[in-house]
């Protein structure tokens, strides 16, 4: 499991070759075997931990998903019965799960574009419009990314509280009644998405600022000499040249939102009436509240396949673009 505050995939552009600057293949008398041994020795701790706590569980989840693994198997895992594709078949007849799939898709389809757009906007604003107090703005926009999600989810819950929350009180001031955001089936999901966008746009912003700074000044100067206005410059220069960055940001944001768990867990517990139940939350419930672990494993794999599919698709787009 990666412990960064989100998915941290390297760019597709990373070459898998050893790359420049690495030791050239030893020639002649310099013994290859010495490096072989040290190389593997240096790799051992990581590989052992990786094998035990990542590779094994990934395979085990797959095996589990074909069994009736339940509470009594936690202490006796080998007694679980093979049930073939049963879990997967039941999954797609399970209305709760289908709802969770729909909710997760909703989260991604609305949340990702909003996050990317606002993040890009913030980047352009900070990079090309603002020259004073830049660090302050940068810290302000990025701070939500690094803060403890459970804590900020609790804060948002209070901000949106219908009785004494900030939004409700402000609405009362203006003489309107604010909806009970987290208590209404219509508003609960948009509220969670709003919070996720607030939390994650800083990541997109930082990536885009790095991308913007890589655009040669000459390109912009040339465009301006040709009489391009600000809007044209944005459309014809900035966005096209930022395309790989934007795609990459889209990939990691999508992966993050497909796995969304903490926000609904803390803010709504999946309610009202499952309107904010996401796939991860459903999996957690099935796995750790009811101990239907085989069933939950099937969920985990369905989600994994969706994530892989979307990642591959987006990376392919990235490749086509860089060509």
């Amino acid at each position: 499991m990666s412990l960064t505050t989100g998915p941290a995939a390297p760019h597709a552009a990373v070459d898998k070759s050893p790359g420049p600057g690495s030791t050239p293949a030893p020639r002649g008398r310099r013994s290859l075997s010495r490096h072989n041994l040290t190389g593997w020795l240096f790799s051992t701790p990581f590989l052992v931990l990786f094998g035990l706590f990542m590779l094994f569980p990934i395979v085990a989840t797959l095996l589990m998903s074909f069994t009736d693994f339940g509470a009594r198997h936690v202490t006796r895992p080998l007694e679980a019965e093979f049930v073939g594709l049963d879990n997967y078949i039941r999954l797609f007849q399970d209305e709760t799960f289908l709802k969770a799939l729909f909710n997760t898709a909703y989260f991604v389809v609305v949340g990702v574009p909003a996050t990317i757009l606002l993040g890009l906007l913030a980047a352009i604003l900070l990079n090309n419009g603002i020259d004073r107090a830049r660090t302050l703005f940068r810290i302000g926009f990025y701070a939500p990314v690094v803060t403890t999600i459970v804590a900020v989810a609790i804060v948002w819950r209070f901000v949106l509280d219908p009785s004494d929350g900030l939004v409700a009180s402000l609405a009362t001031e203006l003489g309107v009644t604010a909806p009970d955001f987290l208590g209404s089936e219509t508003w609960a999901m948009p509220s969670l998405i709003a919070m996720a966008v607030w939390r994650n746009l800083g990541t997109v912003m930082v990536l885009c600022i790095a991308g913007l700074q890589a655009i040669p000044t000459e390109v912009r100067e040339a465009a301006r000499l040709d009489g391009a206005g600000a809007w044209q410059e944005l459309r014809r220069i900035t966005v096209p040249l930022l395309r790989p960055t934007l795609l990459y940001a889209t990939v990691i944001t999508s992966i993050g939102y497909l796995n969304v768990f903490e926000e609904p867990f803390v803010m709504t517990q999946g309610g009202p009436s499952d309107s904010t139940l996401t796939v991860s939350l459903d999996m957690y419930r099935e796995g750790f509240n009811f101990f239907h672990m085989g069933y939950a494993g099937a969920m985990a794999y369905v989600l994994f396949v969706v994530i892989m599919g979307i990642t591959v698709l987006q990376l392919r787009l990235l490749k086509d673009n860089t060509r």
């Binding site: 499991m1 960064t4 419009g129 459970v150």
Partner: protein
């Protein structure tokens, strides 16, 4: 994507005089929206019960009070959760610094058969969502008797793929001649790694420290699963459990929760504000959250 530029910001467009104030207004409004939840949290933590439920909302407490903190400490063993979070975060960070650097060094500077395969494995590991592992991980940890132990909280995160990727990137930039010279002088690989390479990649180690420490501090789903005994809760688990507890004293409960959230978030914001340069470096280098 991002070339490894420590690029100097190219000179901003000289916007017309009329546009400047507008841009600042938009940016400041954005900043206000971003900061509002934090301000609300920080100020509410010190409000009296009357202020907490006042409508219109009271921003600045009419009288500042520590009641919320007192009530929170009365109901929750915060120092213990702080200690748990800190112990886990320190152990995770130290083990990542050592193990990720070791593999990073091997991938960057040692020729060995199967090196590219190992690197491929690391890249693949970056793509795998944590949710895929938690079910059997729980069974495994339970079988090893590690539920409700620090080991159970630390081990799954003891060596992250991101750290390996980051360290490899930086170690590639260490000149080979330096290592060759040391080898000719008869230095062993272990010596070279600790005494020559590690001091040269201090900035990367700083970046990795921050990311790993905060990642661990903010981690939620695994500690939630791997602890049953409240004595072993980490801060986020304790806070979420408290927030979702239907029996919680409702009156003034929000004040307590804001105090708790503030205590959890404060160290994070402090670390971030002091070391924010390393953050942007880390994000720009490897492109991550």
């Amino acid at each position: 994507m991002t070339a490894e530029t420590a690029a100097k910001a190219h000179r901003p467009r000289r916007t017309g005089r009329a546009r400047k104030p507008l841009l600042y207004a938009v940016a400041s409004l954005g900043l206000l929206v971003m900061a509002t939840p934090f301000l609300w949290m920080a100020l509410s933590a010190f409000k009296s019960r009357q202020d907490l439920t006042a409508s219109p909302p009271v921003w600045i407490p009419t009288h500042w009070t520590l009641d919320n903190f007192a009530a929170l400490l009365d109901q929750l063993d915060m120092p213990r959760y702080f200690l748990n979070s800190a112990i886990v975060a320190v152990l995770v960070t130290v083990s990542n610094l050592v193990f990720c650097s070791m593999l990073g060094y091997a991938l960057a500077k040692l020729d060995f058969t199967g090196r590219s395969k190992v690197f491929g494995l690391v890249l693949a590991a970056l793509m795998v969502p944590g949710n895929l592992m938690i079910l059997p991980l729980y069974v495994l940890m339970n079988g090893m008797g590690l539920i409700d132990t620090y080991a159970g909280l630390v081990l799954p995160f003891a060596a992250g793929a991101f750290g390996v990727f980051l360290m490899r990137q930086f170690m590639l930039q260490v000149p080979d001649e330096l290592l060759e010279a040391a080898r000719l002088d008869g230095a062993g690989e272990w010596y070279i790694f600790w005494r020559i390479v590690m001091p040269l990649v201090k900035p990367a180690l700083a970046t990795l420290t921050i990311f790993t420490f905060l990642g661990s501090w903010n981690n939620f789903i695994w500690p939630l699963i791997a602890t049953n005994d409240p004595d072993k809760y980490t801060l986020p688990v304790a806070l979420a459990t408290f927030a979702n507890d239907p029996n919680r004293t409702v009156a003034g409960g929000n004040g307590m929760l804001m105090a708790g959230s503030l205590l959890v978030v404060l160290p994070v914001l402090f670390v971030f504000a002091v070391l924010q340069r390393h953050f942007t470096q880390g994000v720009a280098t490897a492109g991550l959250k």
